[in-house]
Subunit: 277 residues, 2 copies
């Protein structure tokens, strides 16, 4: 992995890396924030999975997360949202919710997507192994994300509860098997067999597996996507059914934007820091 850009930030370092992904079969960029504490020893990591249309720069530049991460001694690991580059399939109409910028953190099984769109393996295995080998990180991990990335964070954590200390999400797509974004993406990437879909649906995974990790979810009440796409109440119902430790906070007046994320990222990082100790 090679440094593309590096900048001092809150006494730590905001770094953009490039590497060749063996899982995605393309060159990828991702961003890392290393807090000042990483100068003197390994630190735990919080993974941030971004939403539709984003790359690693949106969260890095807009969420204001580095301030609290620097205080708490947390690294931030921020992957891209899909494979990239020439030869990587995209939606025929370059739709914002399929193809580039919309990998949905699944391992695609359907052509033409299956050649590159293996974001589940990339974010769960390849990227953590890489950064834990190359950077001053412990093997303690938490995971969070926004919208499509909130879905990704919940799915990765629910399927791999021993890998993470805690999981949180901002306005996650909570039940992708039953919303337009999810149905479109899962049909394209995974095909028509809904049994396959259930492995990538946080509400169904929670019902099927339960969860021993603490879960924090923030959801803006003025979010335009709340009713049709996000459906956090489905996740709450699944948590109730399985006695999972899930806290959903409905935030009055907040929408789906980074102004919402910036307003509550501090709470999420403190939540993760408590459980990473």
């Amino acid at each position: 992995m090679q440094i593309v850009q590096q900048q001092r930030c809150f006494g730590g370092r905001q770094i953009r890396y490039q590497h060749t992904s063996n899982v995605l079969h393309c060159d990828m960029q991702f961003s890392v924030f290393l807090p000042p504490q990483a100068e003197s020893g390994p630190v735990p990591a919080v993974y941030w999975l971004s939403g539709l249309t984003c790359n690693d720069e949106n969260f890095s530049s807009k969420a204001g997360a580095q301030r609290v991460a620097a205080e708490l001694g947390l690294a931030l690991i921020i992957p891209d949202t899909s494979p990239r580059g020439e030869g990587v399939a995209d939606d025929d109409n370059a739709a914002y919710d399929l193809g580039l910028g919309a990998g949905f953190y699944v391992n695609a099984t359907q052509a033409p997507w299956n050649k590159h769109y293996q974001m589940y393996d990339y974010t769960l295995n390849e990227l953590p192994a890489l950064v834990e080998a190359e950077l001053p990180l412990t093997n303690k991990r938490a995971i969070t994300g926004h919208s499509m990335g909130g879905h990704g964070a919940l799915v990765l954590a629910l399927r791999n509860q021993a890998r993470f200390s805690s999981v949180s999400a901002f306005a996650p797509i909570s039940n992708p098997s039953d919303c337009p974004w999810g149905e479109k993406a899962f049909t394209a990437y995974l095909g028509d067999n809904r049994e396959m879909w259930s492995h990538y649906d946080a509400s169904l995974l929670l019902i099927n597996k339960g969860c021993t990790l603490p879960i924090l979810v923030d959801q803006g009440e003025a979010d335009n996507f709340l009713t049709e796409q996000l459906k956090p109440q489905t996740l709450v119902a699944a948590a109730k059914q399985t006695n999972a430790d899930l806290t959903l906070r409905m935030q009055q007046g907040y929408d789906h934007s980074y102004y919402f994320i910036a307003s509550f990222i501090e709470d999420h990082l403190r939540f993760h820091a408590k459980h990473l100790r």
Copy 2:
């Protein structure tokens, strides 16, 4: 003035407005953050002047200033950096440092710029009069900015010391009469008469007028523009000569980016809040 966009942020409101400027003879957009305290009464305002290539969205989305402004009860007023729209002159080669996005907060006297490029009057008079008439603001004001906007903040404050309680700047163009950015812009907007330039040069203004306001300047030591364009030591020398209350903080390792601004905006807002009381 009309609301273009409005979002909840840190318990307050981040709002983008559009209005027709009588000074600039074009439609303009600007952004405002109103803290929660503005719901119950007028609050003081901190004006932010942005740097080259920016509009009102860069600071709004990248600096993380709303968190501290919400705590301190400060409104943020964030103008654009030049007149905009069809018919507004731009550099023939669309250079980033002249024309659109590069108004330099001066009143242009030279054609073709003088028709629209009256950013000094706009930011000093028209915009404050508008927002103080329409929004819950007191007439207490502080001013700050970055790079070209740091230059603008210092010039507006030094020439109008009764209008502001305090002034600060991030990596300001401190002596534009003697650096490539300033010489290019001032020649275009103001002509060859350097006597005209001195009214828009913070270091020369400080020598000629002194300053009764407290001044805070942060400058990254790893800023690529430090030696050739920014020259904060010229400002420090002018402050020494006139016994002005200027603090320059050289910040080791920091560059010219918004990661630098985000790291220190809290200090600047606390500095202004103290003097706005």
